[in-house]
């Protein structure tokens, strides 16, 4: 088995860590401001969808505007408990950085149940950041997307997630050239063994990696792949992602 520190192979994982490191740095540096802006309003119970959007717009746009990261969209999704009325999701996206329109509608009830979405659910459950996807995001980007999210706490209570979307096509532009320079095929997979980007012509984004069932853990993947000669699984220490390198 190739050692983990194999420079040529780990270069892909380094790129992945650097990429998502940048995304999470951007989100993490936003959190203190968010807390400062939202905490007083949340404590008085006066936070509305429209209020949320106007409070955070400038900083959300700054996350999208981060010069060296291809961030497609960004925003904050509050829990239903802290939003009195309006849409708990304040979101901006695309080259024009337009607001997601449902955020602008003044309705009585809002209602995509965000709790069922992975980028909301996982940080709510674990209290930690998460990279969700790849998934077809027909709610926001309408593209195949990865959503990075960080939970926000006010007085120890979970109040929502700050998120940034990256399109798989943008991540691919960063990773694929380096992957294609390797002798063997490299594939970035998520924690459920789902292919994100691969230099292996047999894999498409969304496929389960060979030998695992969709949703299987990276441990299962490592076991399954480890039985094949010359195959290596490099797991990211910071993100729920891994790079698998093996002959096609």
């Amino acid at each position: 088995m190739t050692p983990r520190n194999d420079a040529a192979v780990s270069v892909t994982l380094d790129l992945v860590d650097e990429f998502f490191g940048g995304v999470f740095d951007s989100l993490a540096s936003w959190l203190p401001t968010l807390e400062q802006q939202l905490a007083p309003v949340i404590r008085t119970g006066g936070l509305t969808g429209a209020g949320l959007a106007s409070l955070i717009e400038a900083d959300a746009l700054a996350v999208i505007g981060d010069a060296w990261l291809p961030i497609y969209g960004a925003g904050f999704c509050a829990t239903a408990e802290v939003i009195g009325s309006g849409n708990p999701l304040a979101w901006w996206q695309g080259p024009q950085r337009q607001p997601l329109l449902s955020a602008a509608i003044v309705g009585e009830q809002y209602a995509v149940d965000y709790r069922r979405l992975e980028w909301f659910r996982v940080p709510e459950r674990t209290g930690r950041g998460h990279v969700a996807g790849p998934y077809v995001d027909y709610l926001c980007s309408n593209e195949i997307t990865l959503t990075s999210s960080l939970p926000l706490f006010v007085d120890g209570a979970f109040v929502g997630v700050a998120c940034a979307d990256v399109l798989v096509s943008s991540l691919e532009a960063t990773l694929l050239p380096a992957m294609e320079r390797l002798e063997n095929c490299a594939t970035l997979v998520n924690a459920g063994g789902r292919v994100v980007v691969s230099s292996n012509p047999d894999y498409a984004t969304g496929d389960p990696y060979r030998g695992v069932r969709p949703g299987d853990s990276l441990e299962t993947l490592t076991e399954a792949v480890g039985e094949r000669a010359g195959a290596v699984v490099l797991r990211s220490e910071r993100f729920p992602l891994a790079v698998v390198v093996e002959r096609p």
Binding site: A80, N87, G94, Q96, Q98, P99, L100, L101, S102, A104, I105, V106, G107, E108, Q109, Y110, A111, V112, D113, Y114, R115, R116, E118, P134, Y135, V136, Y138, L139, C140, N142, E143, I144, G192, R194, A204, T205, G206, D207, P208, P214, G215
Partner: protein, 268 residues
């Protein structure tokens, strides 16, 4: 937020997705009209402002204004002035039903059949990829939503069902198939809502969808495919019957005479 109180459904978001291109007032009008017909925009719901709509659709403000004018003339929205003003959906459910029945009658049966074929094919293609790619987690969330929807009211039930169908399409991990599904769903849902007053028809759709999710969880494509067929052909049969009743109502006694002469011809 209970899924049952849903207003901002997936279809709801699709309503306002960018259209691109300039000067497309009728496209904007059609999008909002279909959303009202499908129940994605409910009676009394306030539309975003003209500038917000323009930004979101990716068209000029004058284009949006033109579209809203047309919708206002057709009585689908009304505009109120003042601080709490704006454009509001005014079509009641009976208006929506009448509107959708009109569409059903106006659509040639051959086209209705073909719409069902197209819808069924795209749904089945999505299901085939979802059977390979979807995780149990993703499907279990859908199962929960579906189970909760059993007791929902008519409009809420349709919104949840539409959400679930789009969610299932998305599990194919194909952007193109999902977009095609969204497009077809926007076209088909206004007709499908006509059967929502029929408890038996709702039960049938609900059962078929539940079976589709379970089959996808079991990675059993033929079973998922069969559930989709069952659901679409059931709805189609219902719509064809409804269409016949409506057109009989229009024709009055003529139809009876026609039937009579036919059966007379078939006699010995």
């Amino acid at each position: 937020m209970a899924a049952g109180s849903s207003r901002g459904s997936r279809m709801h978001s699709a309503v306002f997705a960018p259209i691109g291109d300039e000067g497309r007032a009728s496209l904007v009008e059609g999008r909002i009209d279909r959303a009202i017909s499908a129940g994605a925009l409910a009676d009394g719901e306030r539309l975003p402002s003209e500038s917000e709509l323009a930004r979101s659709f990716g068209v000029a403000v004058v284009t949006v204004r033109e579209a809203l004018d047309a919708l206002r003339k057709r009585g689908l929205i009304e505009t109120r002035r003042g601080r709490s003003g704006g454009s509001f959906v005014t079509a009641s459910r009976s208006d929506a039903v009448a509107n959708n029945e009109g569409s059903l009658l106006a659509m040639p049966r051959v086209e209705l059949n073909d719409l069902a074929v197209h819808y069924e094919t795209i749904a089945a293609a999505c299901a085939e990829f979802a059977c390979v790619r979807a995780t149990p987690d993703e499907l279990e969330v859908i199962q929960e939503i579906l189970a909760e929807a059993r007791g929902a009211g008519r409009e809420a039930w349709r919104r949840i069902i539409t959400d679930v169908q789009l969610e299932l399409a998305g599990l194919s991990q194909s952007v193109r198939l999902t977009r095609e599904h969204v497009r077809l769903q926007a076209e088909f849902t206004p007709l499908l809502t006509l059967q929502d007053g029929d408890a038996e028809a709702r039960e049938r759709s609900h059962d078929a969808l539940t079976e589709q999710v379970q089959a996808t969880l079991d990675r059993d494509f033929p079973r998922a495919r069969a559930a989709i067929r069952e659901s679409v052909s059931g709805s189609l049969r219902w719509l064809v019957r409804r269409r016949a009743t409506l057109s009989a109502g229009l024709l009055g006694g003529e139809r009876v005479t026609l039937d009579h002469s036919l059966s007379a011809q078939e006699g010995p």
